[in-house]
Assembly symmetry: C3
Homo-oligomer: 426 residues x 3
């Protein structure tokens, strides 16, 4: 009964055309060209490696795409239980006429060829978006991205600031900042001017959000006047070995938040990732986390910038209750999707239940795909829609006697409406 109801709701939710509020799409090459682009997604390389395939086998220099896919397919027998591999199968069935339930060493070659043929069609990008029910896609732009050569209505710029905050001690980052802005960042004041220039550039190109990922240990605080003391500049901002380098990270982060306030941009916080925990892992398969983190670390930030909206993503599922509670209390904190290690149905469903039960409905961004290639929007949003439909069915239609239409209206709001209102996307 409630299973059929959930299917009915899911079918309706699938009709909603979406704006994907966080991806890593390259707008100059948004869609895949071969199955190697798709199976080269870190989820498949890292899981193949985790299940026993040597990194050298996967990342061998000069490997041609088809050979690489053939190798990765060998691992799928160890991975077919994972939801990540279910995304792969779903998208092959959706887009490439694949009719089997599993990709195996016997059937992958024809799939590879069919997929390549499909993706070679001139309008594949448009087809893929249309079939996926996706209209617009947020990007993750380097701070020095020229933001030209693509349609910023379809591919919405988002200023990613990890490098400015956490790699400012790297001279290459400072050089890029100088090149992008014409300002040598040789003092806090100069850095502020340079960052201001970046914001102006991004705003001119239709930026709709600023974003950053943050380690569990980060706890920003209002900078003191001493933090910008130029005599301490080298230790605080430039020296990667200095014990004071946190001063510079904090100061730059805070300055970015100030510009978000000035330019009325939401500031996406993606909280909790430890980088390079497994440094010899495959590309992008090296990061993990420490669940010992609290949103109370952001108390000062949330209080200081009431005019900035902070869409918050948390990496540890244990953090979801804090996210629910902080969003329920702070007007400027909103829940943002299900990130990375929390992006599996077991956690999405628990998190969605708590959010829909306790956070104002206008403060919840249901989902983003986090994809690198367009083909993944379909299976990832499908996974989310199934979880959402189950929660709407059980907790609202069955338990609280809502009509199906009322439940669908709530679903529409978290899937699309709030993306428009929170990011000011029309």
């Amino acid at each position: 009964m409630s299973e059929l109801l959930a299917q009915r709701l899911c079918a309706e939710l699938t009709k909603i055309v979406l704006v994907d509020p966080h991806t890593h799409i390259n707008p100059h090459s948004p869609a895949s060209k071969t199955l190697a682009d798709i199976m080269g997604y870190h989820y498949y390389t890292e899981l193949a490696h985790s299940s026993g395939m040597p990194k050298s086998h996967i990342e061998e220099p000069g490997l041609d795409p088809k050979t690489k896919v053939g190798r990765l397919v060998e691992s799928l027998k160890n991975l077919d239980n994972t939801v990540q591999v279910s995304w792969l199968v779903e998208l092959c069935r959706k887009f490439f006429g694949f009719t089997d339930e599993r990709i195996t060493t016997s059937n992958w070659e024809s799939l590879y060829d069919n997929a390549a043929a499909k993706m070679a069609e001139k309008d594949w990008e448009d087809q893929c978006l249309k079939q996926s029910g996706i209209e617009r896609v947020f990007l993750t732009n380097d701070f020095d991205d020229p933001l030209t050569g693509f349609d910023t209505k379809r591919y919405i710029p988002c200023l990613r600031t990890d490098e400015l905050v956490f790699h400012f001690t790297n001279p290459a980052v400072r050089e890029r900042l100088a090149r992008a802005t014409g300002i040598e960042p040789t003092s806090p004041e100069k850095i502020r001017q340079a960052i201001g220039k970046l914001f102006e550039h991004f705003v001119r190109h239709g930026v709709k959000a600023c974003a950053i990922s943050l380690p569990p240990s980060f706890a920003p605080r209002t900078p003191t006047s001493g933090d910008q003391d130029e005599r301490q500049f080298s230790a605080g901002f430039l020296d990667p070995e200095s014990e004071s380098k946190g001063i510079g990270q904090n100061w730059i982060f805070w300055t970015i938040a100030e510009f978000c306030a000035e330019f009325k941009l939401p500031f996406d916080l993606m909280i909790g990732v430890n980088r390079r925990v497994y440094p010899t892992g495959v590309f992008q398969g090296q990061d993990l986390f420490d669940q010992r983190v609290s949103l109370i670390q952001y108390k000062d930030l949330f209080n200081t910038f009431p005019q900035v909206t902070f869409p918050v993503s948390v990496l540890a599922q244990a953090s979801n209750q804090e996210l629910v509670s902080y969003s329920w209390i702070f007007p400027n904190v909103v829940t943002n999707a299900h990130w990375w290690y929390s992006n599996i149905p077991a956690y999405i469903e628990l998190d969605t239940k708590a959010r829909l039960q306790a956070v104002p409905r206008n403060k919840q961004i249901g989902y983003y795909s986090d994809m690198y290639k367009l083909e993944f929007a379909w299976p990832k949003f499908s996974m989310y829609r199934q979880c959402l439909a189950r929660v709407l069915a059980q907790d609202f239609v069955v338990a609280r006697r809502w009509s199906e239409e009322e439940a669908l209206a709530l679903g529409r709001q978290v899937l699309r409406g709030n993306v428009e209102s929170i990011f000011n996307v029309d």
Copy 2:
């Protein structure tokens, strides 16, 4: 099948007349007078504010009750998904003849007037308790409450001790203590005498529990003789800026536990709240938490006072497994309801499953309402009963083949029987 079974069990559980073991009822004014008393509950003001309404709009001085309700109703369109608003609708339907599913800008005025008329009936307090199936209600009394002028059989005193422990550095608190006891608390020994007087006073008036809420950082330990060194008294007990002020907090807390032992009172510990995390939030809508807390912080306390029962509430859902495990091992630790940010069905159901599977059945207090006004007992206990009924249905009747009567007996025990036995309420 199991949904119908759960409904059947819930209907039976609803027949049980309850003792509510923790509320903030004012016994001199237990019921509401207008919908403004009801919608002034911090859940509605904080959620309205969180969803976008300025604090000034909600807390404007001199606002008449009806205008205030009219304003808050405007927010409900953003909040109707929350379980807190479902409490509001349920109680309006139960008590005030409200027949709609939502309170809107079009229907609230007649609801307001109907509710006011109902609450103006002379016996509204009695009617409300009767219809809610509530017989007796624990209070939360200031330490200097005279405890007179109300029926202490119906409204059971509970000595709340947060101010003594955490605000003793405030001269006003010390003056109130002196006034209430005739003892100037100018030394640890004098403080002990004064607290002893408070206990005597409360015991004379039928107190059934002592209670305190505690921040995540609190970790009580057996005081040393140095802690009561009078030469350190000012730094340890009186100076709010002193680094040693934790000594006084610990000493007073420990002294209260000693009196609980002496007077055979359970000591309710409500663990994990950070006060004033959002200091410019609405009244009572400023507190949050840090999930990084452990019951191991209470190891010394639990070991030192085996004769004191500690009904423990945890604010972070992540703490529930520790609560289950500590209650399973320590004879003097019992599980106490679902507190505040954990008081939503998603968490109640998970927590209830674990508790019923692993904690002795005579050591579980199922629920308290935490209400400020009597009208909330009905919808809050209803929410709990539905969760409890689902867990009894799935985990006991279906999975373990218990009879419905056996499942209901377990339900009765956690809803009512254990409140009687643990708090010695006959």
Copy 3:
């Protein structure tokens, strides 16, 4: 529908003959002799004590088995809700012809006698294993166990190393090490030689794993050359009061990991237990935990020993997501069952869902019984199979349209196949 499907899957899973990869069986006395052996399991004594029975009543010296059982039975009325007592009832029904649903003061004596008669049968050990569907059983051997006098094909040795690491400051442990190896452990180098001897001895007797339980505070790191400085030996390795004793613990732990690499043994890490939190509790009913622990504490270990497989058990359910994520990224980390305070259906089911959705299927050890007596394998594995069957039914057959046979193949792999491949048991 899905409930019937789960039952069908469970019935099939029950046909699989198992290898139990972690127990505390004494191979010289593997089965129980009376119900006192069974009800003397710490779960029953600690729960009886927790529910109100004085320790002295349970652990009275010279208590005869039948009287002890009679006393413990009095507590069952407070404990029949617990899953631990359901194990007891299930095994009595399975093995001893018990037909009631509850063990009470009225029916226990005949049960006691019937059980004693059954267990007195000469081949009870074989019968019990056969009826339980258990073929082979891992042990937990003291480091100085001679490993003789039993069939190491049926009872597979496992080298338990807690004492070497955490009690090396105890002279009795050092003497036992000297006696077992002929080497006085008077320097780091001598300790290394002695531990090498232990490994050789265990390998000669068919050891299949090394194991250790670890406190939440433990965070191993690559030893420095200074750690083995013989001038610091006393402070670092021998003095239990020394602030440097962590050096010795770390050094010995690391040395054990090195031998696991050399001898190609998996190293079972059981992470998160605090010993003697309730020191006056009953035997084995004194340990608890602190959920504030992270697998990032093992980053150095996992990176340094890529050739060692680490089957990881976590005590806190909050740690399961980290375990899932670390197993998904690190090739040498695998998920290992549901340990102790996490070994209840509410947590097993959540944990199983996340693991099956995100960890390679060849890296998951579904369950171990952790039993002290053979009779417990049946009800504990039954509990797990029911949880597993529900997850397979809901998340794979229903939600992902897997065939029942495919779902069962996944179940077989986590129940049996991976135990064979990960521990190299044929």
